[in-house]
Amino acid sequence: MAKPRVKVPKSATAGEVVTIKTLIDHKMDSGQRKDKAGNLIPRKIINSFSASFNGEEVINVKLEPAISTNPYFQFSFKVPETGDLAFKWVDDDGTVTETKKTITVE
């Protein structure tokens, strides 16, 4: 099971631009590789990553097989108010992995 890791600041000032780092464990089988017997390993990747703040989408990424194993994303956004930053990864097989972090505006 994919295990996500995210780095989000606990607090910010209103309007501050913060940098977010995310990483999720996933093999990202590209569908190009072969196993030891020479059979093609079928494609199985995370095809979508998104982050939303208090329900409003911040960033959305469509992933192709050329994204490395354990997909890593860094992005930055302007914090308008105290709220939850919710992350979502979607696997080819439909599995959804989610995690959430609260940012407090002082």
Partner: protein, 141 residues
């Protein structure tokens, strides 16, 4: 200048040269890459520059090549790897809360160009490309 047969031919030749040169000189990409760019832009004209694309000059391991981009004012950014079996890498969409920048790690099969195409808030498109030398490819096996 009198319009003689010779002058007319010279003018025509010059006109053809002018129309051909920019297409060939600025961008030599594979058909697959061109098709992906056309799908992203809807066939609109694509300018140059306006995006800062950071890639390593030499990537020892093609399995995980760090890339970063910053395209101030962009709504969407498409990343392509021209020399991969399939050029698509990722498409980023930014809301008004987000800065139009990001970084990730990608796979490169061989030495090639990495291309970023951005759709600006006013609906125009722009692109940049960077060459990356790859020592060990990241798609084989």
């Amino acid at each position: 200048m009198k319009l003689t047969r010779r002058n007319a031919l010279a003018l025509g030749g010059a006109a053809i040269a002018v129309t051909l040169v920019p297409v060939n000189a600025t961008f030599a990409a594979t058909d697959l890459t061109m098709a992906d760019i056309a799908a992203f832009t809807g066939g609109a004209e694509v300018g140059e520059g306006g995006i800062e694309l950071t890639t390593p000059e030499i990537a020892e391991n093609g399995n995980t090549v760090p890339i970063a981009f910053s395209a101030p004012g962009a709504k969407r950014v498409l990343i392509l790897a021209d020399g991969n079996p399939s050029p698509g890498v990722a498409t980023f969409s930014f809301s008004e809360l987000a800065m139009a920048e990001g970084s990730t790690r990608i796979r490169l099969a061989t030495t090639q160009d990495v291309i970023a195409v951005a759709e600006m808030a006013d609906g125009t498109f722009t692109k940049v490309s960077k060459s990356v030398k790859v020592t060990i490819g990241g798609c084989g096996g």
